[in-house]
Each structure stands twice: as structure tokens, then as C-alpha cells.
């Protein structure tokens, strides 16, 4: 419809141009030509407005979706509560395992140093130290529960990051966040700081021994 009207306007304007190529147009003719041109421009602007409106509406919808997605990311909850809490759990695990190890070693050292000349007192010492070792081993249960909490936080972050990445169609950009992160990565690479490997991924002592030619 709009295209047909545009063609009609164009035809009328061309007819005017031909008709008044050789003679001066009257004021009424100029006004009529201007009216046709204005009507034609109006149709053009109307189509432009519709396209622009559609694009702006799409952008607004996208922004609205992003706001919802960012809100569901719960960045503040993660940053201020869950990640620090996970860090505290890990610290507690390190402390608990260290304490348990120290207790067990103290007991073992006391047993090794014990004088077994007096059998009765030696037996009492053994009983006492063995009980302490049993008690120290209870760290396993508590640390297991702490690890479960950390895993839960990691899974939560994983699902939210995954959902957000999908929503924004995220593409990875190579490089580092800052110089500190880059320096840490460089150090790891240069000094071969690979850390402990999971079972089946690293080499074992036998493999190392073969590299050193046995023993």
C-alpha cells in the first residue's frame, strides 16, 4: 500500500517536472508539488519510525532480559556471602586437617619415645594415645560436610554462570583480568607449578623410578 502510494507520488512529481521544464511554474503549482513531496516524505518517515521503533523495542526487551538475568545471577549474594563463606569453609578444613595431623603425630611420637620398662604405665599411655588418635580422626566427618558445602557453592556458581553466558551468548576473550593475574599465570608456567594431579592423571613413583634408572 505504502509502496504503491510512493510510486504514485513519484509519477506525479515526474509529470510536474516534465510539464514545467520549459516554463515557469505558478505559485499554486509549486505548492501542489510541495504538498505531494511532503506527503511522500511523510510516508517515508512513517516507515522509518516503525523500523526504528521495532529496533528500539528489541533493544529495550534485551535490556529488560539482561536485567532479569543479572538479577538472577545474584552477584552480590555470591560476592558478599557465598564465596567468602566457601573460603572460610576451606580455611576451616585446612585448620582441622592440620590439627588432626598434629594430634596424631604427637601421639605417635609419644608412643615411639615411651619407656616400656614399666608395662602398666606403658599400657596406660598406649590406651590414652590410641584414644586420642581415634578422636582426632573424627575430623574426616566434619571436613566431609564442609567440602559438601563448598561443592554446593561451586555448583551454584557454575549453573548461574552457565545460564548467564547462554543468555548473553558470551564469547571468551583471551588474556587476563589484570597484571596480577597475568603474573601468577606466568609464574605457574615458568616454574611448572602444576600442583597435585587427580588419580590416573599424574605419574606414579614407579614411573619416576624408571626415569631415574630404578631404585
Amino acid at each position: 500500500m505504502a509502496a504503491a502510494k510512493k510510486k504514485e507520488h513519484f509519477r506525479e512529481m515526474r509529470a510536474y517536472a516534465r510539464a514545467y521544464a520549459e516554463k515557469e511554474p505558478s505559485f499554486a503549482d509549486v505548492m501542489k508539488l510541495a504538498a505531494i513531496a511532503a506527503e511522500s516524505m511523510e510516508a517515508f518517515c512513517a516507515s522509518m519510525d516503525a523500523t526504528t521503533y521495532r529496533e528500539l523495542r528489541d533493544i529495550a526487551n534485551y535490556i529488560e532480559t539482561m536485567k532479569v538475568e543479572i538479577g538472577q545471577f545474584q552477584v552480590n549474594d555470591l560476592k558478599e556471602s557465598r564465596i567468602p563463606a566457601a573460603g572460610e569453609e576451606l580455611d576451616a578444613i585446612v585448620k582441622a586437617t592440620e590439627e588432626a595431623t598434629n594430634t596424631i603425630m604427637e601421639c605417635a611420637e609419644a608412643l615411639l619415645a615411651a619407656d616400656c620398662a614399666d608395662l602398666e604405665s606403658y599400657q596406660a599411655l598406649v590406651n590414652d594415645k590410641v584414644m586420642k588418635i581415634f578422636e582426632a580422626c573424627s575430623f574426616q566427618d566434619i571436613t566431609g560436610q564442609r567440602v559438601a558445602k563448598v561443592i554446593e557453592t561451586l555448583q551454584m556458581i557454575e549453573s548461574r554462570v552457565g545460564r548467564f553466558a547462554e543468555a548473553v551468548n558470551a564469547k571468551d576473550v583471551a588474556g587476563f583480568l589484570d597484571e596480577r593475574e597475568a603474573a601468577r599465570a606466568r609464574r605457574k608456567e615458568e616454574l611448572l607449578l602444576n600442583g597435585p594431579q587427580l588419580k590416573g592423571q599424574g605419574i606414579d613413583q614407579k614411573y619416576v623410578d624408571d626415569m631415574f634408572g630404578k631404585k
Partner: protein, 127 residues
């Protein structure tokens, strides 16, 4: 060369618990003179003050790693011949290759036991 059980040994690890474990294991296999350092630079300082018969070092420490310590030791004319055993959780082939290339005498993967420690010390001293 027989193992001299009176030789001073320097154990380098940033975990006090690990030092304590190694110290106890060394005691069990007959070594009493054990000093400790928490990283490569502290170890290097101690090595320049006292002559050690053996260095047992972790790899991953800060600021100076065991790998850097090994290279420093081998580059130092006075320390270059000190026997050096790496005791580490770094269990990638590239780590062992790099340590060998840098001049390590033996390499123990954590976790380990007293028998492994003893056999590696014996191997270093040719027993």
C-alpha cells in the same frame, strides 16, 4: 659411597606438618641432624652458612620454589655438589624431566612412605 647417618640434612617445605613428617621418618631411618627451611630462599641462606650432606625439598613454595632452589644450588660453585632430593606433589612428567635436567639426584612423589624415602637416600649415596 656409604650413607653417613650423622650428616646434617636440610628439609625445605612451607608446610610445618610436612617437615615434621619428614623429620620423623628420617629419625626412624637413622638421621637425627635435621634442619628446616620454609622456602627456597631461606634454604639457600642456611646452605651458605652450613654444609649439608643432603637437601630434601618440596617444589611448590613461595617466594622461591624448590625448582628455583635446585637451579641456584647447582649454579653455585660451593653448593653445586650437594645431593638434592625433590619430594613433591608435582607429578607431571615435565616436572621430573625439568628437575633431572636441573640436576636433581632423585625425585619422590607425595604421598610417600619411609621405605621410599630410605631407598631414594640410599640410591643417591650409591648404597
Amino acid at each position: 659411597m656409604a650413607v653417613d647417618h650423622t650428616m646434617p640434612i636440610l628439609v625445605v617445605d612451607d608446610y610445618k606438618t610436612m617437615i615434621r613428617i619428614i623429620r620423623n621418618l628420617l629419625k626412624q631411618i637413622g638421621f637425627e641432624d635435621v634442619d628446616e627451611a620454609a622456602d627456597g630462599s631461606e634454604a639457600l641462606g642456611k646452605m651458605r652458612e652450613k654444609k649439608y650432606g643432603l637437601v630434601i625439598s618440596d617444589w611448590n613454595m613461595e617466594p622461591m620454589t624448590g625448582y628455583e632452589l635446585l637451579k641456584e644450588v647447582r649454579a653455585d660453585e660451593k653448593l653445586a655438589r650437594t645431593p638434592f632430593i625433590m619430594v613433591t606433589a608435582e607429578s607431571k612428567t615435565e616436572n621430573v624431566i625439568a628437575a633431572k635436567k636441573a640436576g636433581v639426584n632423585n625425585y619422590i612423589v607425595k604421598p610417600f612412605n619411609a621405605q621410599t624415602l630410605k631407598s631414594k637416600i640410599d640410591a643417591v649415596f650409591g648404597d
